[in-house]
């Protein structure tokens, strides 16, 4: 394979994995809200929703690793290892890429705490998990700003779909009818 072709392939892989990751995190966020609602969904039930939520998130995490790994190899991206941890230091589109670093840092934190939640307990897990609500929009803006597909119709369409999905789910999350997990209950004291 020629260097040019290889570079093009890496760039395509880099963008592709990133976009796929965003799609999966959008799905995971939606499923997270569906799961938190405590409602049972035909076909999946509650367990199916929570299993799929985790699988989508883990797959998305894997895709982010592939995304970053590919871009480290791609000369066009000019990505250095330091950029993986510290945002806004990159050579290429530092602002937008910095958001990607930020999103990835948040992802690493959420993932680590999830894996260790047996030791850390449900309260630490829950408070750190709130960071996913920050991670998602940061990742989206990163994609819109640093991805070269951002101008294309299909990507814009995809971004709009993601935003609509997250916004609707988010609105439902805030609605009073969402509470009590769908049951008529006296609210518990939760610390």
């Amino acid at each position: 394979m020629t260097t040019q072709a290889l570079d093009a392939a890496l760039w395509a892989w880099g963008r592709g994995t990133g976009i796929a990751a965003l799609a999966l995190f959008t799905l995971s966020l939606l499923l997270g809200i569906l799961g938190r609602s405590g409602r049972s969904w035909r076909l999946f039930g509650r367990v199916g929703v929570s299993d799929l939520h985790r699988t989508a998130a883990l797959t998305g995490t894997g895709l982010v690793a592939a995304h970053v790994g590919t871009l480290l190899l791609d000369p066009y991206a000019q990505l250095k290892l330091v950029d993986l941890l510290f945002p806004f230091l990159a050579a290429y589109r530092p602002l937008w890429l910095g958001l990607g670093t930020l999103a990835m840092d948040l992802l690493a934190l959420v993932t680590a705490v999830s894996v260790l939640r047996g030791r850390l307990g449900p309260r630490v897990f829950r408070s750190v998990h709130w960071a996913t609500y920050a991670m998602w929009p940061v990742a989206l803006v990163h994609a819109l700003g640093s991805g070269t597909d951002a101008g294309t119709t299909w990507f814009r369409g995809f971004a709009v779909v993601c935003v609509v999905v997250v916004a609707s789910a988010g609105l439902w999350r805030l609605a009073p009818s969402y509470a009590g997990r769908g049951w008529a209950r006296v609210p518990r004291r939760t610390t």
């Binding site: 518990r188 004291r189 610390t191």
Partner: protein, 399 residues
């Protein structure tokens, strides 16, 4: 329902062990090794006087076997509004409770010894007396807050650890991880008083009162329709009628044995012995010695409804079945007390009572269920009248 205050005219108490201010000569606090203490307590057969009636030696042994030095807590929180035996004990004989606490503390090599009291149960005079009794002792006085459930073992430990006075999951036993993360021994104040006497006078002496399988004496708080409410001391296994006699009951309809988590003994059965097996048919247990006499002029369902509402309000609200179920019990009981002619009410009460039992971090819902069940059982004739739309106590007045 506010905290009860110990009245001035108390009934005459036939036996005086822990209530006697100078029990057989107060000298230096006996210094017992762990094995001596365990031997003495086991031989005495002393069991807890805080409600659960757990064998004291087992608890002491459990906490002494840990690697870390334990914390010993004397529990005088007394969350039950109908009980003030521990308050009276601390007012009359604080030295004995503190002796017991020190004896246990030394034997288990405790890191801290704490006397836990509810801040509302101590007026200035009592606090002063307690502070005098505490002088020279390595005992901390913890003045705590909280409601009905605050005296529960895990709730007490949580509060001593600076958290809210709410029960915790009992999977992690406080004898393993408690105050400051250390194995913690929580003993009722009265239990410690008896223990101090056992250390001084021996197991044989202790067993000279009471029964073979439930030896010694214990304190009873007598309230309700009596001329002389107050705290008496009586041998374990005494007849209920004998224990309440000196309080001079007035037209008793029934006696609530065990407080708001207890069960009713009807007037015709007042000669029942206050032992575990004898009280089983009444769904009652001696518990912390609460004996509340219901007078003939009180509608038992009115009383029960108020108790149920109180218990619902005192839920820690952490556990779904309790926070949902107890208000259901209270409102259904209210309907029954209001003479609503719905014959499904008793069955509904029974159903909810069964569903809340065993489903919570502590025994609060179980106690409420037991109380409601006993009320329906013992007063079933009264319940039938209510279901016909009239209360026998109202003499024709419509509710």
């Amino acid at each position: 329902m506010t905290r009860a205050v110990a009245p001035m005219t108390a009934p005459r108490t036939p036996v005086r062990r822990v209530l006697d201010p100078t029990p057989g000569g107060s000298g230096p606090v006996p210094d017992l090794s762990l094995s001596s203490l365990l031997a003495a307590v086991e031989a005495s057969g002393l069991s807890g006087r805080g409600g659960a009636g757990f064998p004291t030696s087992i608890k002491v042994r459990a906490v002494a076997e840990g690697r870390r030095r334990p914390v010993v807590v004397a529990n005088a929180m007394e969350g039950e509004p109908l009980s003030y035996k521990d308050a009276v004990l601390l007012a009359r004989n604080p030295a004995l409770v503190l002796d017991g606490l020190e004896i246990v503390g030394r034997a288990v090599r405790c890191r801290r010894c704490i006397l836990a009291v509810h801040e509302e149960s101590l007026d200035d005079a009592a606090t002063g007396a307690l502070e005098v009794a505490l002088r020279g002792r390595q005992v901390e006085l913890a003045r705590l807050g909280g409601g009905f459930v605050a005296g529960q073992e895990t709730a007490l430990v949580n509060q001593l650890n600076g958290r809210a006075p709410l029960p915790g999951d009992q999977f992690r036993r406080v004898t393993e991880v408690g105050v400051d993360g250390r194995p913690t021994l929580v003993l009722n104040a009265e239990t410690l008083a008896h223990l101090a006497l056992v250390a001084r006078h021996g197991a044989t002496w202790f067993r000279s009162a009471g029964l073979a399988d439930d030896p010694g004496t214990s304190l009873f708080t007598i309230t309700g329709s009596v001329r002389r409410p107050g705290v008496v001391e009586a041998p374990r296994g005494s007849r209920l009628a004998d224990v309440i006699e000196s309080a001079v009951p007035v037209q008793p309809q029934a006696v609530l044995v065990g407080g708001y988590h207890g069960g009713w003994v009807p007037a015709r059965d007042l000669d029942v012995r206050l032992t575990r097996p004898d009280l089983v048919p009444y769904r009652a247990a001696v518990g912390a010695g609460v004996l509340h006499v219901l007078g003939a002029d009180v509608c038992p369902l009115d009383f029960a409804e108020q108790v149920a509402a109180y218990l619902a309000a005192e839920s820690a609200r952490q556990c779904g079945p309790c926070v949902n179920g107890l208000p259901q019990l209270a409102s259904t009981l209210h309907r029954l007390a209001s003479c609503e002619r719905d014959h499904a009410l008793p069955a509904e009460l029974d159903r909810v009572a069964r569903v809340v039992s065993g489903r919570g971090a502590c025994a609060h819902p179980d106690g409420a269920a037991r109380f409601v069940g006993s009320t329906l059982d013992v007063f079933h004739e009264h319940v039938d009248e209510h279901l016909r739309g009239r209360c026998p106590h109202d003499l024709g007045v419509r509710r």
